[in-house]
């Protein structure tokens, strides 16, 4: 399956919904979207990965890149993911300590608001 991307704003936080496979072929599209959102001054991002079927280190690189960009503006990039096969790659690489990973978009929004 190819990659489908959509985004919407909720409570001042940009929610990026990702569906499909994030790999060396499709990751540039996600990277471009994250860059576009940051360039439009969206510095609070949540990437919803509940419909992601595959993620490799190229995809991780894009997420890390997005995190670095928003943090440069004191922003945040949190993830929504409950799939074990996706979470495993975050654990292997130690990125569970870098990203806030939540079970739902609402939970991620609540956590982000609680930190403000």
């Amino acid at each position: 399956m190819d990659l489908k991307l959509a985004h919407s704003n909720k409570d001042g936080i940009e929610i990026v919904d990702v569906e499909g496979e994030i790999d060396v072929y499709t990751a540039p599209r996600l990277r471009e979207l994250l860059i576009e959102l940051v360039n439009k001054k969206n510095y609070q991002l949540i990437v919803n990965m509940e419909k992601v079927e595959f993620l490799d280190s190229t995809g991780l690189g894009v997420l890390v890149g997005g995190l670095k960009r928003v943090r440069a503006h004191d922003g945040s990039l949190d993830l929504v993911c409950t799939q074990e096969r996706i979470l495993k790659i975050f654990r292997i690489t130690g990125l569970t300590k870098v990203f806030g990973i939540h079970e739902s978009v609402d939970q991620a929004i609540a956590a982000r608001k609680a930190e403000k």
Partner: protein, 157 residues
């Protein structure tokens, strides 16, 4: 002799095909269903790594993927044509005798991600992910390039 061999042009779009073939052959070879995601991700990492190196150094050369289910193990070998020096192979992953296991806890190298945001994390991350997924991983010189050999235990028949 390999059960299945795949040769593909080093383009990102073909990595998905290699993943699908590897997963299908692994399933057919008796690898446990619970391990198929690990095979898919590890083979994808090895192929992505080879594609990116080929695109930089030898885009006209194909990448080879060999899948074998002899004996008790299912083995995948991804072979590129990029010399070690061009590959940026992490120091110590290839021993003097030509083969060496990748350290299971290979450094992810995220601290090195600085300045302009790169698309790809440092090369060691892909190998670290492979090492975390396969039962056994070996990186060795192969012809003019490098091979990454990964294996998983098959179900007892």
């Amino acid at each position: 002799m390999a059960t299945v061999e795949v040769t593909f042009t080093p383009l990102p779009v073909h990595v998905r095909t290699a993943r699908l073939v590897a997963t299908a052959v692994a399933r057919r070879s008796g690898v446990a269903e619970s391990l198929l995601d690990e095979v898919r991700l590890a083979v994808g990492e090895a192929c992505s790594r080879a594609v990116e190196a080929h695109m930089l150094h030898c885009p006209e050369q194909p990448i080879r993927v060999s899948l074998t289910d002899d004996g008790e193990r299912f083995e995948v070998v991804v072979t590129d044509a990029v010399p070690d020096a061009e590959h940026g192979m992490p120091t110590g992953t290839v021993a003097a005798n030509g083969t060496s296991a990748v350290p299971a806890a290979a450094p992810a190298g995220f601290a090195a991600v600085d300045g302009e945001v790169p698309l790809q994390l440092p090369d060691g991350v892909g190998l670290a992910v492979i090492a975390g997924l396969a039962d056994d991983v070996r990186v060795a010189p192969a012809g003019s390039g490098t091979s990454v050999t990964m294996s998983w235990k098959r179900r007892s028949s």
